[in-house]
């Protein structure tokens, strides 16, 4: 299977760099799959799970924040606010954060706070989903 070069940079650290066979990311209108030879594109990413299959290896998942993806010259670049491996995520903590964010969303607050809490909620949900990928295997 043909492969392409993938580079994932998160704000905290360079997350991944290497050859990949396939990649699935979250766009605002749903999941989006990418294979080698994809056409040129720049898109906004929403917080969610990123799945990528390394050349001749198992599929890997990562919980990611919002950001962008750029496909050009047969190379894929992903820039996200945060990215985590499932094993780095404490499921209980993610669950708690999710509940806290839901709770906070119910309370009356300013528009700024509302946006922040909404982002928190999306992040917590994506972390939780990524952490459960491990159990499926």
């Amino acid at each position: 299977m043909s492969s392409f070069k993938l580079r994932i940079l998160s704000a905290e650290r360079p997350f991944f760099e290497g050859e990949c066979e396939s990649l699935t990311v979250q766009l605002s209108d749903g999941e989006f799959g990418i294979l080698a030879g994809h056409q040129k594109m720049v898109a906004a990413l929403v917080p969610g799970v990123i799945r990528f299959k390394k050349l001749g290896a198992e599929e890997e998942v990562a919980a990611a924040g919002g950001g962008m993806i750029r496909i050009a010259d047969g190379e894929v670049l992903i820039l996200v606010d945060s990215a985590e491996h499932p094993e780095e995520i404490d499921e209980k903590r993610a669950q708690r954060a999710l509940e806290e964010a839901k709770e906070a969303l119910l309370q009356k607050q300013s528009l700024t706070e509302h946006r922040i809490v909404q982002a928190d909620l999306a992040r917590a949900a994506s972390r939780l989903r990524a952490s459960r990928y491990n159990y499926g295997k």
Binding site: L9, S10, A11, E12, R13, P14, L27, S28, D29, K40, M41, V42, A43, A44, G66, G67, M68, R70, A72, D73, L77, L79, D81, L111, T112, R115, I116
Partner: protein
Amino acid sequence: MANAGEIKNRIKSIQDIRKITNAMYLISTTKLRRAKLELDKTRPYFLTLKEEIGDIFFDVPGVRSKYFWSEERPIPNRRRVKRSACLVITSDKGLAGAYNHNVLKLAMDYMEAQDYMPQAEKAMLFVVGEYGRQFFRQKKIPVAKSFLYTAQNPSINRAREITNVITSLYNRGDIDEVHMIYTDMQNGVTTEVREQKLLPLDKDDFQQTSVKNTNYTEEDFVPSVKQILDNLVPSYLTGFIFSALVDSFCSEQNARMLAMDSAGRNAEEMLHELSMEYNRVRQAAITQEITEVAAGAKGQKRAEIARQKEA
């Protein structure tokens, strides 16, 4: 001249202070190293991000965004600068030489040049660090009240929160321009206080890289150029503010290291002088005692001889 006991006391207290300054020096060294490491890890992300924003801005004709300003592409529905806000980064505590003083001096100069009129209900001065807040309170210059961020151990999350506060004010149109005053670490030794415009972004700050053969067209963007830029710019600002926080923190630690180093050296010098004086005083006391004993002994002897002669 002080007596030996007093000098000894003084030496003891100076030794104790030197222990403290030495400890502060060491703490600053480790904090500096840790902060730099953190920054190095985030650098690739923000440099790439900056390149991408630059590419999009230069490559796509007619991009307009509320975050950009240039003469030929004015921001739609926006007046010329009326209200500007300023983010000032100071430290939480003193004992760092002229570090805070330099920042606050530039901040005052800036406000004077801008004809900044402080209004209590609409203060647009965002201050990081307790030292700066105290300073403006004393000068009776109102600062944004709920903006309480520490300068200690800068983290990307804190930078993100600061960006949130600022961009939401900017998007609402409460402020038209945002500046930042911070201390830049140039090469590990020299530091310089700087004033930098944060928003709107200036085209000149973004170099057209164009090594990659991008040649974007409007159709390459999902869902739209505007959406993507609106998504990316806050992240870029976060990175910029984060590196300013880290640079300022490093400069602070650096200033403190220098201050503590010279304090340590001064203590060393004082200890040297004091121990000389202590020895001199002690010697003088011994000499005096010997003289007294000798004189006493001599007097005794003379009295004895006189008594023997009488007998």
